[in-house]
């Protein structure tokens, strides 16, 4: 392929190889193509004439995304069948530093898809997975995890952060990785600070460009798409919006509570 052809391909084509139902609202879409990506980085998935949204890969070979049915984009994505095409650009952003010796991974809900490649890359790790209830679980045969549910319908009854506190009282860890609802990640970070353990959190904001210029995903003076999406303790400490405020599609700053209310 010469340079001109390469340049014209803003988005590359993906073909769906297989679709797996993970639970009542979650599917994994496997693609024929390979995507070279580091854990924590993301791609922008494009459904022509519909929308384009950021996703992390949940599998690398073959590439896959694990998606929860949420809004218009995912509704359209869920209509696709094996053999159908969609498009992506990327990968973008900075990922996790997956070099730690002894790590805890705290995933909440769909956040587990965001740390799946990380867990596979870590030699030794403890995974805590928190979900609302049993029916929200996925990947339970894929990873060895301490499962927590809010209602106790499976595993430990309580929050993933409660489980994390217990774990840290018993054992020493070098780093805590976290991905999930930001209110949970903020609690995880506060616990990490208390126990003086390094932390890396994968943040989510409404994204447009994905390449660090439009400012839609601003979190304080940081751009989630370019400076993140994974931020370490040094950054998280300075990010006043972290765990408190997000930005809506129209750019208005809103509390995380308001944001989640609008989405569910």
């Amino acid at each position: 392929m010469n340079n001109m052809e390469k340049e014209q391909k803003v988005h590359k084509k993906l073909t769906i190889k297989q679709i797996i139902n993970e639970n009542y609202k979650t599917k994994t879409f496997f693609f024929n193509e390979k995507i070279d990506i580091k854990p924590g980085q993301f791609i922008m998935l494009w459904l022509p004439a519909i929308d384009e949204k950021p996703f992390t890969l949940s599998y690398k070979k073959p590439a896959a995304v694990t998606v929860e049915l949420k809004g218009n984009f995912t509704k359209e994505l869920f209509k696709l069948k094996k053999g159908d095409n969609l498009f992506y650009r990327g990968p973008f952003g900075d990922g996790f530093t997956a070099s730690a010796k002894k790590a805890v991974v705290v995933a909440g809900g769909m956040g587990l898809a965001g740390v799946s490649l990380l867990i596979e890359n870590l030699k030794k790790s403890k995974v805590i997975f928190g979900a609302k209830q049993k029916r929200d679980l996925f990947f339970k045969n894929r990873f060895d995890m301490d499962i927590c549910t809010d209602d106790g319908s499976i595993g430990y009854k309580g929050f993933a952060t409660d489980k994390l506190r217990k774990l840290l009282k018993e054992e020493k860890y070098d780093i805590i990785y976290t991905c999930g609802p930001e209110i949970m990640m903020k609690k995880v970070f506060d616990i990490a600070e208390k126990y003086k353990i390094k932390c890396e959190a994968s943040l989510e904001r409404f994204m447009r460009c994905g390449i660090g210029i439009c400012g839609s995903c601003a979190c304080g003076d940081k751009l989630v798409c370019k400076d993140g999406p994974v931020f370490n303790s040094d950054n998280l400490r300075k990010m006043n919006d972290f765990g408190r405020y997000t930005r809506l599609k129209n750019g208005r700053k809103a509390s995380l509570q308001e944001y989640h209310k609008g989405r569910s």
Binding site: M4, K6, E7, Q8, K9, V10, H11, K13, M44, W46, P48, A49, I50, D51, E52, K53, N85, F87, R89, M207, R208, C209, G210, I211, G212, I213, C214, G215, S216, A218, G220, D221, L223, R247, K249, N250, G251, R252, K253
Partner: protein, 302 residues
């Protein structure tokens, strides 16, 4: 001693680089970050009359020779931004407040509202190609002049700078009309209309289908526009379009710009780009024995 400072209608800039509107300027913290990274001035994301979601994605793409965008002016609307305005008003460096509207009344109302925050400079975004009727005001000299005059009447001491569109037959005529209507400076250019189609998807890439081109591909268009405007007006010009390094900036200054807008270059070189450009300008001035930016403005016309 090389003097890199410049001025726009009496407002002093420590160097001629200006963060352009629509790039990073969504939060006061990002504006501060631009100044920490050596920007001479920084423009906020255009403030509009009401809450607006903007377009679906893709809304910004790199097409290989520049960027194409149709973000669609998302924003909370001026009445929902007091917290941000308050923060912006505390910044000592020159912040440029960009505003847009679909009626002259919108521009006037927004100006009246923000004037209490004492903005040094207001930029009139009358040239966004990504909104129904968004370009209306920069399409002909009469409407460009009308907006400028109406805003000037309520702007008190604030500097007013209309930002013009290159998607017209004669940009210098429009700049001249703005000058006569009281504009304190001109910013040229906004993005150039364009479209990219993905031939495998058989669809335009941008959700909005059409968009505005920026980046290296449009630099000669911008230089030509600034050159033409310089011949027709006496007020200072901010030259914007495709500048990614010091040599590009000097080219624009030689065409007649007193300062230069930096937008897509933030994508190509990161937020450090302001410092890099300033250093490259300084090196060039040293090599060519210039002591002040003012000595270079418009010299390509001599």
């Amino acid at each position: 001693m090389i003097d890199l400072s410049t001025s726009i209608a009496g407002v002093k800039l420590k160097n001629p680089t200006i963060l352009s509107s629509g790039i990073l300027g969504t939060s006061p913290e990002l504006i501060k970050r631009a100044f920490e990274n050596n920007a001479g001035a920084a423009t906020i994301k255009s403030i509009g009359p009401k809450l607006r979601d903007g377009n679906n994605n893709p809304s910004v793409i790199n097409f290989g020779h520049g960027l194409l965008n149709a973000v669609g002016l998302p924003g909370p609307g001026y009445k929902n931004m007091d917290v941000e305005f308050n923060e912006l008003s505390k910044i000592k460096d020159p912040v440029i407040w960009s505003i847009y509207g679909s009626k002259i009344e919108d521009f006037v109302n927004i100006t009246k509202y923000i004037i209490k925050y004492k903005p040094k400079i207001i930029e009139l975004n009358i040239s966004c190609p990504n909104k129904e009727n968004g370009m209306l005001f920069s399409q002909d000299k009469k409407s460009a002049a009308n907006v400028t005059r109406s805003v000037k009447e309520v702007a008190e001491k604030t500097i007013i700078i209309p930002k013009l569109s290159p998607n017209v037959a004669n940009i210098s005529e429009i700049a001249y009309a703005c000058e006569k209507a009281g504009a304190d400076a001109i910013n040229a250019i906004n993005t150039v209309q364009g479209m990219v189609i993905n031939i495998d998807a058989k669809k335009p890439v941008l959700y909005y289908k059409k968009g505005g081109m920026s980046g290296p591909a449009i630099r000669p268009i911008a230089v030509r526009c600034v050159y033409d405007i310089y011949e027709n007006v006496k007020i200072p010009i901010i030259g914007t379009g495709g500048i990614t390094n010091g040599r590009d900036a000097i080219e624009m200054i030689q065409a007649g710009a007193s300062a230069v807008g930096i937008g897509s270059a933030v994508y190509y070189h990161g937020i450090n780009v302001f410092g890099n450009i300033v250093n490259e300008i300084k090196e060039w001035m040293q090599e060519n024995s210039y002591n002040s930016i003012k000595e270079i403005i418009g010299i390509a016309h001599e």
